[in-house]
Symmetry: C2
Subunit: 328 residues, 2 copies
């Protein structure tokens, strides 16, 4: 049973992933290359469907499945257990690691990447995101849903086959709570959504905007955490990603693919993470929060200053990054 | 001139390090190995003192310098500029990157590491930490001082020669402000310092304590951010590191060396960061905050879930980690 533990000095919860737990001595020496990089024994490749947990969702045509969702074989959280917090004899607080951890296999092709897929395939991936997000957000056991993608070894991928992941948690992450508080203060002060205001500021400034469609905007961040950090925002206001319509979702898939193509060309297929940020599942139709996607290229590593202080040091000017990506 | 930019959605400041700025196209492709890994052209090796900025502090004996402090040749912040915040026409806020960024060269020996140095040498390093921290904390231009060490490529080191760094910032990092707020709430509620309470809890629980001396305690964290995350705390209450006495500083050097030896043996010289956390320089003798050192082994990488949600997934149980390190 995975465990969630509360850090009383930071008020963050940590997942102790017992399903993937290692003995301390396993960390001695550098980790070996993961064998499943090759298609020869990849559990996500067609023909090896029995190697994954049962299928939750799939899109199929005459040629077989195009996108497939299963539970993660080594889930960080599991959908059983007691949601109550408990303290040990010394005052340390924990709870069962209740949640859901699913894998969205983005293509049957082991070597496919979104930047070079057909638009129709990317549409199916994003429609799968939508469907799974809606279902998990509806589950009363979960407080928060986060959908994310790790691309490349430097971004934390352990399996090469293209996939995204979605995790439902029984707690609201402190980071999200902090962002909600900042946005709430802004709304209380100005009467506006902070993210709607940010979009207007970026549209006026122009110099960081990379792409725009009727309903979405893509820009590099004025004060980024990572070089080339890029935010993708809906221009329409809504706090919860799971309210996105099928049509909006296709438009999102279009702009994401266009952006990822530019990134692929400009920085030569960099490692990256992206994540969809949405309000807590039971806090709906918030005036002050705005769902968003953040993309973090992982081309530099966080050193002691960043990890220690939380202040990022970024060595590329965001306006130059935007111009470079725009022209790619 | 480095620049500090304010992120209005996270309320973090980011350093745009113009001194180290790269063109966007420099990020295309993987970074090449840094040439100064070898002693042959290392600017920190004896005989190449002219390759570093002027010396700020040094300890010498008949054989030459033993520890040497200079400004960073590519400082993230510089001690000149205007401390006032300004907004551009669109509302984006920034200020000059005023601060100080120094390098503490820990030994003349290019290959030395604290785990295997003499205790006398480690004492000199920690006394240099103390001296530089005191001086920077006294400078009225700076609000915060952070001292940190990057050991190994995976921890962000760009120069192999053993060194630590100290950065003085003109702002209080939001992360530190958040920790101060949590500790303040705990004090208001209980009348106790949260960290003093944590020490008592860890002493009672015993199972995460690795080392203890009269004045210091070392334990793995109950809810860590990284596998084997370890905190080193003074058992005496003080909020500001720069109040440490010479005798206490020698005792700290002793316990740090003992712990780093264990880490070196147990996990075979892992990459790590450590950082000294101290209250903002002008907030002194706080009842509710307690200076501390956090050590983060960098043996796993943060993937999209951690970066996105702020919830760490840790695959080694902290009690097992403590037992393993204790016995090393």
């Amino acid at each position: 049973m995975p465990e969630l533990r509360f850090n009383l000095a930071t008020r963050d919860w940590t997942i102790i992933a017992t399903e993937r737990a290692k003995r301390p001595e396993d960390f001695a020496g550098k980790p070996a290359a993961v064998s499943s990089d090759s298609a020869a024994n990849c559990p996500f490749c067609p023909g090896r469907e029995s190697k994954t947990p049962p299928e939750i969702y799939a899109v199929r045509d005459a040629g077989g499945w195009k996108v497939r969702v299963t539970e993660n074989a080594f889930p960080a959280l599991r959908p059983t257990g007691d949601p109550r917090r408990s303290k040990d004899a010394f005052g340390f607080e924990k709870m069962d690691g209740i949640g859901k951890h699913e894998v969205i296999i983005e293509s049957p092709d082991h070597e496919a990447i979104i930047a070079t897929m057909t638009q129709a395939q990317v549409d199916e991936i994003y429609l799968a995101y939508r469907q799974r997000f809606i279902e998990l957000a509806r589950d009363p056991r979960f407080e928060s849903v986060i959908l994310f993608k790790n691309h490349g070894r430097g971004a934390g991928t352990s399996l090469h086959h293209p996939h995204s992941q979605i995790v439902a948690t029984p707690i609201t992450p402190r980071t999200l709570r902090d962002r909600l508080g900042i946005a709430q203060d802004h709304f209380d002060e100005t009467g506006n959504c902070l993210y709607c205001d940010l979009i207007k500021m970026e549209q006026a400034a122009k110099e960081r905007v990379i792409l725009e469609t009727d309903n979405f905007i893509v820009f590099t961040l004025y004060a980024p955490r990572f070089p080339f950090e890029t935010w993708i925002l809906p221009k329409f206001h809504h706090s919860n990603f799971d309210t996105i319509s099928v049509e909006q979702c296709r438009e999102l898939a279009l702009i994401m693919k266009k952006f990822l193509e530019k990134l692929y060309k400009a920085i030569k297929n960099p490692d990256f993470n992206y994540a969809i940020y949405s309000a807590p599942t039971k806090e709906r139709d918030l005036e002050h929060f705005h769902w968003n996607i953040k993309l973090f290229p992982r081309i530099t590593s966080m050193a002691g200053f960043e990890v220690g202080s939380g202040i990022p040091i970024v060595t590329v000017v965001p306006e130059a990054a935007a111009a470079y990506l725009k022209n790619a």
